[in-house]
Every structure is written in C-alpha cells, then in structure tokens.
Symmetry: C2
Subunit: 237 residues, 2 copies
C-alpha cells in the first residue's frame, strides 16, 4: 500500500504538494483511479483515490478518515546530541519513528561532536519512515539547543538522563512508570560531563543506566525509545 | 581504550593476526609499551601491552584475564532473512552485537529477497561492534539455510515466530519467560507465507507479535533482541 503525506488532509478533494505529486505521478506512475493511503501526520489516516494525475499538483479524493494505530496515552520525547556521522543520527530517527516517538530535541553539550544540524533533512527521514510504517503521527524535531537551556525547560512527566557512571545503578526500565510522559536525555559520544549531569539532576532529571552494555549514542537512543514503548505495551506489568 | 580481537588469546606473549597487526601498528600507530584491551570473543578480556610493533605480526604481552560483562545466564538466537539492502542487515548485526546476542542464523524463505549472503563480511561487522562495545563474546553467525530445514532443527528453549497476522495477539514481551533460552524467527520484507507460519507452529514455534507498529525486517530483529535483553535486565519482573 502506497502512503502519501498531506499535513492539511481532509475528506473530499485535496491537492498534493509538489514533492508528493512528483512521487505519486512521476516516480510511482500512479494513474487516475488508483488507490492509496494518506496520513496527515497529526493522528489521522484516510483512504485516497487519484483524481488528477498532475505531476506537480496531483488531486485526490479522500474518504474514511480514521485514527491511526499509533495514537498513545503518553508522550515520549528523546533529546540527543547529533552524532559525528549524520547517518547514525538518521538511523535513530528512522527507527524511533517506526518504533514510536513524539518528539526529538537536538542539543549541544560539552563533549558534542556537532553543534549544528540539518533539521530539514532529518525531518525528511522521519516523513519517509512515517509513510513506510503507515503511521498517522509525524514526530516533531527541534533544532539544536544548548544543554544548559534544555535541562531548565519545563516538562510534564518523568525526566531521565542516561548517564554512564559507576554510581548510576538505577535502570530506565525499573524507574519509568507505565503511562507517564517521558523525556530521556542521551549524551554525545564522549558522554555528559559530570557538571552537566549534576545540572540535570538539580533540575529534576533522574540518572539512569540503560543496562551493562556499552552502547553507541544512536543505539542508546533507540534502546531508550524501545524501553518506554515496551513497558507501555506489556500486558503483565 | 583500543580493543583488539585475538580468538586464541592467553596470558603471556601472543602474536596478532595480520589484520589486527596492521590495525594496531599501521592504522593506530601504536608503539612498543602502549597498552590496550584484548577480547577473545569467547567470554574473556585481557590487559595487553605491545611488545613488538611489527606491522604484520605484532607481539603483545597479555595479563589479567577476566570474564567480560556480557556473560549471560540465557542464550539468545535470532534467525533472519537477509534484507534486500545488505546495509540494513549489517545495521541489525551491529546493533544486536551491541545490545547482546549469541547467534544469528540466516535463512531463505518463500518471500525472501536474498538467498545468499556474504557471511565473512557480516562477521566483520560483528567483530567491529564487539570491539567497539568492549564485549568479550563474538556472536556466531550461520550461513543461509532453507526455512523448512531451520524450523525442524532442535532448540533447547522457547521458540518464537514473529508473524504479522490479525490472529496473532500474543506479544513476545508477554510470552517470553525470563532466564530461558530464546530463538526468534524474523521474516523477510514480504513476511512469512501462511504455510511457513503453520510449519513453524507445527514444530513448536509460538506465534507472537512485536507490537502494533509495522516494522522493517531489521527493526523487528533489533526490537526482538532488545525485548529479550530488557526482560532479563529488569529487576521488577
């Protein structure tokens, strides 16, 4: 099933963006009458039928608006320092979108390898992953902020900092309470500095371990994301 | 900390392979007296000191043999159909090695995109991930076997098939029993055929879902791997 992204989707006749028109008509060579799925990235899916196969401004008829399977009762936000290699951050974004996430906040900290990011490129990775996994919600992504600012922002839920330190023995999987909103900070390749960890703790972040394994930044982020999802998904807890 | 892989490691003087010698002496330009860590891939780590900086046959002195942090009381095996794009399978191998896995079995089934694999290349990805995450165990990887043969092989533990079917409502995270050996089958891009799923069930595999999200093959494999690890890692279950 082909899926297209239309942020302004509504039942009835709608026009595709130039990018989605090109993908639909030129790349996939869809013809009038062909059927597909449309996501608005805000929680709804639609059935679609191509009404006008225009390569720059395709028109479709949408019907059967319904909530996607990915509507949750909690929110999950992960704040991550972009990795030296962009493709590693992009892998995280793709996998987190598939597994389920609401917001990614980029940040720069003391040991950061990168202090700037191409957020538009990152958003495209998430749009592609949303379409591929037929999700109705496009996760937000926010441009790089300074770590010291980030930890002072208000957040309505449990706040965690994944910090590799011998004194940190609590695990995210043991500290997270099912159903609660969660924000997890994932450090850069060189980890957080002790001062940064202290600042986070002073601002209400719970220091947690993701387990004994030494994980790369993007692996730690995927593991944190899946930990929160799994704990909410389990029937027996 | 630099980590080298020496399958025949033992305390005392040892010779590096040509590949590890090159990496140590030519790439990293290590000199006599420099210190590092050595993994034997079989459960032990050593402290090492370079004794002879030969570019093809470096010699080191090993001491302080100790068990790695990644020794487990259960085994985890994942059987996966190689993805169309090799880099997606390689990403799974890297992440699974980081998170923790004992064996990867490749297989070909009805909807498989690939029926052959470059196992040596895949093993190199796992060796690099083992060294990067300072693991003492190198996961095994077995070349492609036919699905129909695979499901008939004996396995001492719980056997699961991750199958996307509306009738499959049990989840891996609810069915797995902590501490038990686990084998999880992950299907190709086109999933298992109903006949294959039936054959697996007839041979004792429990059909399970990994959750509501529609996951790519390699994402499903990482999620299955992390699910088993997390359930063993949690203190509260």
């Amino acid at each position: 099933m082909n899926v297209f992204y239309l942020p302004d989707a509504t039942e009835g006749m709608v026009s595709f963006s130039e990018e989605e028109s090109k993908h639909c008509v030129k790349v996939l060579r869809m013809q009038e009458g062909d059927r597909f799925c449309v996501t608005d990235g805000k929680g709804s899916l639609y059935d679609g039928e191509l009404a006008e196969a225009h390569p720059k401004r395709a028109v479709a008829c949408l019907s059967n608006r319904r909530p996607g399977y990915d509507n949750r009762t909690f929110t999950l936000e992960i704040a991550i320092a972009p990795t030296k290699l962009n493709e590693r951050t992009e892998w995280f974004l793709e996998k987190a979108t598939e597994i389920g996430i609401d917001k990614v906040q980029l940040f720069a900290s003391y040991h950061s390898e990168r202090r700037a990011a191409n957020v538009e490129r990152f958003r495209k990775v998430m749009i592609a992953a949303m379409k591929q996994s037929i999700k109705s919600r496009l996760p937000e992504i926010e441009d790089v902020v300074d770590f010291n600012k980030l930890v002072k922002q208000p957040f309505d839920g449990q706040k965690f900092i994944a910090w590799i330190d011998d004194n940190v023995t609590d695990q995210l999987c043991d500290k997270y309470e099912k159903g609660k909103n969660a924000l997890v900070l994932i450090g850069p390749e060189g980890d957080f500095s002790p001062e940064e960890a202290k600042l986070a703790m002073d601002n209400g972040f719970i220091p947690v371990s993701l387990g004994e394994a030494r994980l790369r930044t993007e692996t730690a982020a995927v593991v944190a994301c899946h930990t929160i999802q799994l704990l909410n998904q389990m029937k027996r807890t």
